[in-house]
């Protein structure tokens, strides 16, 4: 499965790019699986996602819980808790 990942705020800064297209192995089923998979991709990912429980994720631009399935996702946003307003 190929999916577009988009990063924001300090997640973006630590990973070092705003977005990328990646191929996911079949073992990546949930949002939690995805975050753990990314952590293994290198030091910058490890640094960005070292505390995955604080990371927020959106699937196709809608908020998703960590136990949500990523099947059907075209775009997955990964970012810190929001601080707008």
């Amino acid at each position: 499965m190929s999916v577009k990942l988009v990063y924001f705020a300090w997640v973006r800064e630590r990973i070092g790019k705003p977005e990328e297209e990646i191929d996911l192995p079949a073992s990546v089923i949930t949002v939690r699986d995805l975050l753990n998979h990314l952590k293994d991709l290198g030091e910058e990912y490890e640094n960005a996602l070292q505390f995955p429980e604080v990371i927020r994720v959106a699937i196709n631009q809608e908020h998703a819980e960590h136990d949500e399935l990523i099947a059907g996702a075209r775009e997955i946003g990964i970012f810190p808790p929001m601080t707008g307003g």
């Binding site: 924001f8 601080t83 707008g84």
Partner: protein, 154 residues
């Protein structure tokens, strides 16, 4: 049932409050109460030179529209506008504007307050501080108090 469609914008430009209210009210004569909330950039006793507002284009508007739709139904609003700026914002400048209109005052107050509480915790915006001494600043941390404020609407 209300068929009001909220006015939602994400923009780098500033906004004019009176113009936004005028547009919301148009020629309606059933609105008795309009509450606006403006969020401004504070300078933190001179420590801050600017805020950098990052957002998730597309999702930011969609999330604001979703929150706005819930507020319109819940408080039977006759009008709702939410505008959030992005980019570099200086102390004293506007960051966000919410306008809620209703026949009576409590619904207008509650509508604007509700939208702000959910916008803070759910709309994909992030603030980075630029320090007055020129050093690269930190990303502002989310506050538990904002989750608590949101949860009062449960």
């Amino acid at each position: 049932m209300s068929n009001i469609t909220p006015t939602i914008r994400v923009q780098s430009a500033d906004f004019d409050l009176q113009s936004e209210i005028d547009a919301l009210i148009a020629r309606r004569k059933d609105i008795g109460a309009v509450v606006t909330f403006s969020g401004l950039c504070r300078d933190e006793q001179g420590a801050l030179s600017a805020l950098e507002l990052e957002h998730y284009p597309g999702m930011a508007e969609a999330e604001m529209r979703r929150i706005g739709g819930i507020a319109v139904k819940r408080f039977s609003l006759l009008g709702l506008t939410a505008i959030h700026r992005h980019g570099r914002i200086m102390p004293g400048e506007n960051i966000v504007l919410v306008i809620a209109a209703a026949p009576h005052r409590q619904a207008a107050f509650d509508g604007a307050n509700f939208v702000m509480d959910f916008l803070k915790t759910s709309a994909p915006f992030w603030k980075k501080e630029h320090a007055a001494d020129g050093t690269a600043g930190d990303w502002i941390a989310a506050k538990d108090a904002d989750d608590t404020a949101r949860d009062k609407w449960k």
